[in-house]
């Protein structure tokens, strides 16, 4: 691994990695059963430098923003490297957002270049919202068919210039990326992540879960996500490891990839982990009685020998068939993006497959705590990573309070929002809004949230304010969206849901027609953003002098209602 303490920037470290590991494989890309591409670090450099040169010829300079909206693939990483090499600020956006959301965030970020894929560009280019992001001067589109209408974009594959680009140095405190943790419909939260944030986080994470040449990381979490950016790009690249991309994430192709590419690590969201658990459990249940007895006995032996620590070698021998289904080389499944239920973690650990669960948020630079497996604890999110100071603010009698973090990995602040930054970072401590406490072994346990938001099992942060627009002009006196957990704290991280609080007009009934209207509007939202119930409140919402709803006061009033009776299903 490179000694990252010597580097000032992400681009500087990556530049040296490409030379140091020139002959190692860095990227494998597959589409269904076909392997499309296999690149060494030398090949990667040969692809990226002409792009960096073309960017520089187009006046892209230090501090300029370039956004990537792409699915996971080689060109994502090649483009990102070219941007860093040229001293740019990367703005990775979630390709799953709507075109309207994309353009809003592009405008907010100030990016001058957009790099995207043709299927995405087809939707983006015809969106009426395109007009708002006048800052986007150049659009590069990958994989456009020969006869494609480019609508003002240029082909990524042809955007190359001969000659060596000039490496543009950056300092550790400069912004490397603007990562949006939320705010697509309301107040955008663009986390300004510095070069130091990434360099320090990489050192901390790889001390627990190391990479080396020969390691293969399967990248299925979107690369714009802080976890995949770190463990599916920067981490493996600075260690000479390889990243495997799949162009389709159909479960059957993901399953095939493990044995085919001898995967070492993979990161998933809890939903995918649970799905894997369900699939495996169904296969175990289908075993004939005698085989099942033998299998259960082997699992029991494995549980006994791995009680104190993970013993991969023994587990692979004992439960050979299970491990071979995962390729036989899997060292850990990294799970993140949302809270994972302990029983799911335990299920995999009992099979001898360590699951690296932890706790993190974009604002803190990926991970804050990670389970070090010494011993494995399914009931916690692990201990703080090296370099992380974590404390519990204002603990109640049971020790539960707000988790706060101080570290070199904490973001510089929210882009163009000093007010929000001042709320989030107080005296150098990041206030996470999550509730937790430490146990006697120094492990962090989480107990719900203090903030009005939910995180889905797919790792999506949803803020109620961001989805209220869809209910605009609903024929009622007033309405407001809340995370149910914010009104009725359950001290739980699972089963979070959003509710629509409605105050009807005097004499108005909660009619079938109104219910249908709410349902129709709700269905316009992406499925994971939808409300799950309605709460009727027969009183005026408390408001500020400027008529903004006082959400905290309203939540307090609603909290006096019995949640089970108050939430009407849709």
């Amino acid at each position: 691994m490179l000694d990252l303490s010597k580097y000032q920037s992400v681009g500087g470290a990556l530049k040296d990695a490409l030379d140091q590991f020139a002959n190692e494989v860095c990227l494998i890309e597959a589409d269904r059963e076909r392997e499309k591409e296999r690149l060494t670090y030398r090949d990667f450099k040969e692809r990226a430098h002409p792009l960096a040169k073309a960017l520089q010829n187009a006046s892209f300079a230090a501090g300029n923003g370039a956004s990537i909206i792409m699915t996971n693939q080689s060109k994502w990483l090649i483009s990102a490297y070219a941007v860093f090499f040229a001293g740019g600020v990367l703005v990775p956006l979630d390709y799953k957002l709507t075109p309207d959301e994309h353009w809003q965030l592009l405008k907010h970020s100030g990016a001058s270049v957009l790099i995207t894929e043709y299927p995405i560009w087809r939707h983006l280019s015809v969106s009426a919202s395109r007009a708002v992001a006048t800052n986007v001067q150049a659009v590069l589109v990958t994989e456009a068919p020969a006869n494609a209408v480019l609508a003002g974009a240029q082909r990524w594959e042809e955007f190359r210039r001969v000659g060596e680009p000039v490496f543009v140095p950056r300092s550790r405190q400069d912004t490397a990326c603007i990562v949006y943790s939320s705010g697509t419909g309301g107040r955008p939260k663009g986390c300004m992540m510095t070069h130091e944030n990434y360099l320090e986080q990489c050192v901390a994470l790889t001390s627990l879960y190391p990479f080396w040449p020969g390691v293969r990381y399967l990248s299925i979490l979107p690369t714009n996500h802080a976890i995949d950016f770190m463990v599916g790009f920067f981490g493996p690249f600075t260690c000479g490891a390889a990243v495997v991309h799949l162009r389709t994430l159909r479960p059957e192709y993901v399953r095939e990839a493990f044995p085919k590419y001898k995967i070492t690590y993979v990161s998933v969201v809890p939903l995918v982990l649970k799905n894997l658990q369900k699939g495996l459990q169904a296969r175990f249940n289908a075993l004939p009685a005698e085989k099942r007895r033998v299998f259960n006995a082997l699992v029991a032996i494995n549980k006994a020998v791995t009680k104190g620590r993970s013993r991969l070698g023994i587990s692979r021998c004992l439960l050979k068939q299970v491990h071979e289904a995962f390729g036989g080389e899997l060292r850990a499944i990294i799970v993140g993006g949302a809270f994972t239920e302990p029983q799911t973690l335990q299920f995999f650990y009992d099979l001898g497959i360590p699951v690296a669960n932890g706790y993190g948020l974009t604002e803190a630079g990926t991970a804050v705590t990670v389970n070090d497996l010494k011993p494995f604890r399914a009931d916690t999110v692990g201990k703080p990573l090296p370099g992380m100071e974590v404390r519990i603010v204002n603990p109640a009698g049971d020790g539960i309070g707000e988790v706060s973090v101080r570290s070199k990995t904490v973001m510089a602040g929210y882009l163009n929002d000093p007010e929000l930054t001042a709320e989030a970072i107080v005296n150098g401590w990041l206030m996470t809004g999550d509730l937790g406490r430490f146990d006697s072994a120094g492990h962090l346990q989480l107990f719900g949230r203090k903030k009005n938001m939910i995180v889905t099992e797919e790792g999506k942060n949803i803020y109620p304010e961001d989805i209220e627009a869809v209910f605009e002009s609903l024929p009622v006196k007033e309405f407001c969206v809340f995370a149910a957990n914010f009104i009725w704290p359950s001290r739980s991280m699972v089963g979070e849901e959003l509710v629509l609080v409605v105050h009807l007009e005097p004499g108005q009934l909660y009619s079938q027609e109104l219910r249908r209207d709410i349902n129709a509007r709700n269905n316009r939202l992406l499925n994971y953003k939808r409300i799950l119930g309605v709460v009727l409140l027969d009183e005026d919402f408390p408001r500020t002098a400027s008529l903004k709803i006082k959400r905290n006061v309203l939540a307090e009033r609603l909290g006096k209602l019995d949640s089970a009776a108050a939430i009407l299903s849709l």
Binding site: K96, T98, I120, T248, P251, E458, N523, N527
Partner: protein, 80 residues
């Protein structure tokens, strides 16, 4: 060449079969997340079956944000 109506009907029939529902129980406007009670991963599994049936390849992105059978059928139709 199939018409959009034929494609839509075939999508509905295949989805009903895949999720073991009675034939004719699904309609074009149904939200499949809600009607079938499935998550995004199960939707991807259904897509593979549709791809095999229609002999096309549908990039994952093309079905991003789609939640009703009618729109899904339109996306398939455009690739036939």
């Amino acid at each position: 060449m199939r018409t959009l109506e034929q494609t839509t009907q075939e999508v509905l029939d295949l989805a009903a079969k895949h999720f073991q529902l009675p034939a004719g129980s699904l309609t074009p406007g149904d939200d499949f997340f809600k009607k079938l009670g499935i998550d995004s991963l199960q939707t991807l599994e259904m897509l593979s079956r549709l791809e095999n049936h229609f002999g096309i390849e549908l990039p994952d992105y093309e079905v991003q944000g789609v939640s009703d059978f009618k729109t899904l059928a339109e996306r398939i139709q455009s690739r036939l």
